[in-house]
Amino acid sequence: MFDFSIITKWFHTLLTGVMPEWLAIGIECLIVLLFIILLYAILAIALIYAERKICAFFQCRLGPNRVGKWGLLQVFADVLKMLTKEIIKLRQTDLLLHDMAPYFVLTASFLTFACIPWNKGLDILDFNVGVFFFIAISGIGVVGILLAGWASHSKYPLIGAMRSGAQLISYELSIGMTMLTVIMLNGTMQFSEIVQQQADFGWNIVRGHVPAVLAFLIYLVAGNAECNRGPFDLPEAESELTAGYHTEYSGMHFGFFYLAEYLNMFICGAMAATIFLGGWAPIYFPGMDGFNAVMGYIPGFIWFFGKAFFVVFLLMWIRWTFPRLRIDQLLSLEWKYLMPLSMINIILMALVVCFGLTL
């Protein structure tokens, strides 16, 4: 497997050869920032297009097919439209908080986005408590949503924000616990290390068998809820609260919420791929050397994107199939079923790891 750190190290030595180190690091940070923003935008556009097409096929429709070949330029057109729209200032809103809220959501989304290991040696934020950091910053998004609802000074957004607060905080527990099971299996909180182990010993979902599969399923449900997507889209529940917490937003401020929603879906998929499905590690079957060699030639980031988009497809499939839950059902699902289940699962995983029952 190609190690991307060779390139980054070469680039770093190249820069430090002609300039002081602080400047080199500064330039590198700038490049990384550009890379993140660009990737973020491209992924958002790809995801929105994918969602439109996939949901169209579920719904016996064609989806966008007028702007560009197969409607490929539709999303670009929509983004342009969104950018030109006026950002409405409402008289009774708390302007500062109201304008800040989308940036909170976006910042949380950006920071979690930076935690993802894209390829071997290609991770932006990678340190020994990566998982911890990931869970911590993903919590910032809730603040943004609560602020949006509160500062709008309107009843629908307020109900949406309250729902969202209850929902996101609850489901973060399950996410944390499923990640804990993985940490127990791999013995590390560093994302690159978790993936490296999977490349060496097999994917977590195979290696940890029963508890890992259970954790994966719980993660899918909780992750779906974390993304505010159907059947857990209560905070914006279109048919109940018109648009929930972002009812009073317009133009690009609404666009930020929209972007963050889609990227959070991708981050959810990417995290599932990283901690359960082996990240950038290719498929290996012991004993089938020819096959394994061919798989090894496929670059790691293609493996990673393939797996992430597979999970994203699962999330879309679920969204376009199920009706929405009610708030009390949503909370009882988490507190009465998922939470106890993931606690038992941790014990199960502990037993599996202690007695060396991993595959």
Binding site: P231, D233, A237, S239, R324
Partner: protein, 522 residues
């Protein structure tokens, strides 16, 4: 049918009504119709009652000669639906019902001057186009008689100042039109609903008083647009029976089949709207796919997709096309084949069941007291199908089941509608192959004049009993034309059904009630 209306003195009204309810079990208030009989007859009300047990009917009228301060006794303590019906009569005729807890206008603005349905009222003069916002009072008036015989007024509170009231509608994705429900919340729990109606009130009944009978037909399709066929059928039938016009068997067949096709179309749309309301967006397209086939049949045969204008007095507008039977059979085959998809994706889904089972329950007594006929009433175990109770057209010659469930919750209402679709297909099955040859239009005089008297005709529309009441003085146009709306009882029952449920349930219950706003506002 011609009505034989018994007059009761206004002072005796409440006792007489109580007696009818208790002794003769008249628990279904079908209609409560305000009337203005002019200087000689005064202002009054016609009550149409029916017993849900024995099926016998009674028509009562009462009146007061005082046009300045017309007072009548309320019956809102006997039938719950009378509460909203009496508000309608107050709105249109200015009749004040004593002891009625909530004497507000129902459809018109609260600052409206005059009472437009009175024959001597001139609404244009006193009501210029107002540019200010419509006031919505949080309090209401109750009129009662003091011990000395004078009339007293007291103020009742609808919403207290510190209640958390949220406006659901008039612009809202899930109210299926411009319905406005002021909803009091305790957290997420609904504690009270106050419907504010009349955003698309067009005064169809008032307009009809100045139209000739054939002209009134055009407006029926615009009431409950998902029951356009049945509504117009009811009015045509009422007029035909009043003037004694015979209808050819071919027309009877066509009308029955069209009524049932319309019912299927309506229930398909109901399913789509309900699943949208509870957030299952994909299932919505499934029924619209089949509904499109049906609308194509309508369009091919008479050009309309939503507003049909098909029935006429004495027949139908055009003959059906030669391939009508083939088209209908193709549609039927497609629907039966795909019906399981609707059930698989929504009706048997665990989340959907959790959202509907045991939610928004109406007891049988409540359903009858509110007059929630149709699939909603039948979900509470109330046998109220007009096609069985008062058969019309060909319904006494075909075999079909009346779909009854006992639970009274959202799920029962939903399943009732799903089953009714199949039952409608069964009815069509029995008729489609034997449509007799003949004329599609009976010859009649160009000017239609109804004999003097009162006439009523009910049909089973897609969402319950749709009734047409005509009072004629022997002229070319009706003296009073009243439509029994199906939506109004459903809206009235929303408060009872939704109390203690969550906001999300309010939306889902509204979806399963399946009201159509133009039908409510008229």
């Amino acid at each position: 049918m011609t009505l034989d209306i018994r007059t009761v003195a206004s002072s005796e009204l409440h006792n007489e009504m109580m007696r009818l309810k208790q002794e003769r079990h008249m628990d279904f208030l079908v209609n409560l119709i305000g009337m203005d009989w002019g200087e000689e007859g005064g202002l009054g009300v016609i009550y149409m009652l029916e017993s849900s047990k024995t099926g016998e009917t009674a028509e009562i009228k009462t009146s007061t000669m005082d046009r300045e301060h017309p007072y009548l006794q309320t019956v809102s303590d006997i039938w719950q639906i009378a509460n909203i019906y009496e508000r309608e009569v107050y709105d249109f005729y200015g009749i004040i019902f004593l002891n009625h807890p909530d004497m507000r206008r129902l459809f018109l603005r609260e600052d409206w001057q005059g009472f437009p349905f009175r024959k001597d009222d001139k609404p244009e003069e006193e009501n210029p186009l107002r540019m200010d916002n419509e006031p919505l009072a949080d309090t209401t008036k109750e009129y009662f008689i003091n011990a000395d015989g004078s009339v007293g007024v007291k103020e009742n509170v609808i919403f207290a100042p510190d209640d958390y009231v949220i406006n659901i509608g008039p612009q809202h994705p899930s109210t299926h039109g411009v319905l406005h429900m002021r909803t009091r919340l305790d957290g997420e729990t609904v504690t009270k609903i106050d419907p504010v109606l009349g955003y698309i009130h067009r005064g169809v009944e008032k307009i009809s008083e100045s139209l000739t009978y054939p002209q009134t037909l055009a407006l029926t399709d615009r009431l409950d647009y998902l029951s356009a066929m049945q509504n117009r059928h009811a009015l045509c039938m009422c007029i035909e029976k009043a003037i004694g016009l015979e209808i050819t068997p071919r027309v009877q067949y066509i009308r029955t089949i069209m009524d049932e096709l319309q019912r299927v179309a309506s229930h398909l749309l109901y399913y789509g709207a309900l699943v949208m309301d509870v957030g299952a967006l994909t299932a919505f397209f499934y029924t619209f796919r089949e509904r499109e086939m049906l609308l194509k049949i309508f369009e091919d045969n008479f050009g309309g997709r939503l507003i049909m204008n098909y029935n006429t007095i004495g027949g139908v507008m055009y003959d059906i096309r030669p391939d009508f039977a083939k088209q209908v059979k193709e549609f039927e085959k497609a629907l039966r084949k795909r019906f399981h998809e609707y059930q698989d994706i929504y009706s048997t889904n665990i989340i959907a069941l959790n959202r509907m089972v045991g939610v928004g329950t109406l007891s049988q007594e409540q359903a009858i007291s509110f007059g929630c006929a149709g699939p909603t009433g039948r979900a509470c175990g109330w046998h109220n199908d007009v096609r069985k109770r008062h058969p019309y057209a060909l319904y006494d010659q075909v075999e079909f089941k009346e779909i009854i469930r006992e639970e009274g919750d959202s799920n029962a209402r939903h399943l009732n509608r799903m089953d009714e679709m199949l039952e409608s297909l069964n009815i069509i099955d029995q008729l489609i192959d034997n449509i007799p040859e003949g004329d599609f239009q009976t010859k009649r005089k160009p000017i239609v004049k109804l004999p003097e008297g009162s006439f009523y005709q009910a049909v089973e529309s897609s969402r319950g009993e749709f009734g047409v009441f005509i009072e004629s003085k022997g002229d070319k146009s009706p003296y009073r034309l009243h439509y029994r709306s199906n939506g109004l009882p459903l809206i009235a029952a929303m408060d009872t059904a939704c109390r203690g449920e969550k906001i999300a349930d309010l939306i889902a219950i509204g979806g399963t009630m399946d009201f159509v706003i133009p039908d409510i506002d008229r």
